[in-house]
Symmetry: none
Subunit: 225 residues, 2 copies
């Protein structure tokens, strides 16, 4: 899961990233609205956290822009202003949640998780395809009737596949999804191989079929036969 943090205070941005990274999210930071705009149009994020009080622009405008560019991104506003009008306006305009400074990181974390659950998977909290089934809120993965325990990377990888059934994914886009954009393309290939291998093994061990197809020179595809 990838999160974009739009915040100009370096200290705050850093502590948010620290916290959320430890929670298993891939985090990236934009210091200005302009940067945020660019990043959102280039990459996909599961959630965007926006501080409304940045120096370089009118706050509410950017929310609408973000919405337009990437309709799939959930948005959480953080703001120093605590007026009810602002809150309502924020929600009306398209943000999904609203927090006022100061706040506890643990609360932000909880809201992010709740938001991602809500957005990506509507009311039903499972993803399923063939005999593979994932309970998102419980973070459990089943192969047929048997549960298999996946590590964080394996879990993220499986979810990435499940939300891209029958689509050819390049090794690079997989790497980018699992580690963010700070990775050297060359270095990350071995890691991708490794995690693919582990995921395959764990699914096979539970009696599942190997749906991860290798595409020579390209990457992988999750598909039936």
């Amino acid at each position: 899961m990838k999160i974009l943090v739009v915040e100009d205070e370096k200290g705050l941005a850093e502590s948010i990233v620290d916290y959320l990274t430890k929670e298993g999210f891939i985090c990236e930071v934009a210091n200005t609205f302009w940067q945020a705009d660019e990043k959102v149009s280039l990459y996909q994020y599961d959630c965007t956290i926006v501080d409304l009080t940045l120096p370089d622009g009118e706050g509410f405008g950017i929310i609408q822009t973000l919405k337009k560019i990437a309709a799939t991104t959930g948005i959480i506003i953080i703001s120093a202003r605590n007026t009810l009008e602002d809150k309502i306006k924020g929600l009306e305009i398209g943000s999904d949640d609203y927090m006022t400074k100061p706040f506890h990181l643990s609360e932000l974390n909880a809201r992010v998780k709740s938001l991602i659950r809500r957005r990506n998977f509507g009311g039903n909290n499972d993803m399923a395809w063939r005999e593979i089934r994932v309970q998102l809120q419980a973070r459990k993965v089943f192969v047929g009737e048997k549960e298999t325990l996946l590590s964080r990377k394996e879990y993220d990888l499986l979810l990435y596949f499940l939300s891209n059934i029958d689509v050819a994914l390049t090794k690079e886009s997989i790497a980018e999804h699992l580690w963010g954009d700070h990775m050297d393309s060359a270095d990350s290939l071995d890691m991708v191989y490794s995690h693919i291998k582990n995921l395959r093994r764990k699914i096979l061990e539970k009696g599942g079929r190997d749906y991860i197809q290798s595409i020579y020179g390209i990457g992988y595809k999750f598909a039936a036969s």
Copy 2:
């Protein structure tokens, strides 16, 4: 997909080419604006990456020239200058995107892909003609109801044919499309024969008709009877 990199710093040019080549693009380099001019007027590129700060000329002029010569080419400017005016001017003049040095190669890659996606209208569409059908997203090729597995070159070749139905393609333009212009013209012809043959075989094997017509002395044409 072919990309032209206009950059005089050998090191930077090389690392860009390395990275994008691994991503599956065909890359060529021009060290000067003059060279770039020539190349663009001779060949077709899906995207041109231009460093504005080359020694041999006024930067913005070349963008307009490129646009005029090859309106179909997407243009990404890279520049050391970070002023807003430059950025705006660049976009006004007809570039599609703007990056400031230094940048991550992964970001450049993302921008190239996003640009190509934009230009090709979504890119998620299928291509089909007679009983040949290609699902671009899944990178699947069907002949009638049967799927056939193509290697990278074969796949590229088929796509080239499908986007040039009923058009006579010279062997040279095919070679140039598959390998770029760093090929010895003589050597590459045999390779073209080879890949043509493999593509033919794979389509015939699945019960398809042979739509690749040889035109003696010229090249090939993808057409019905």
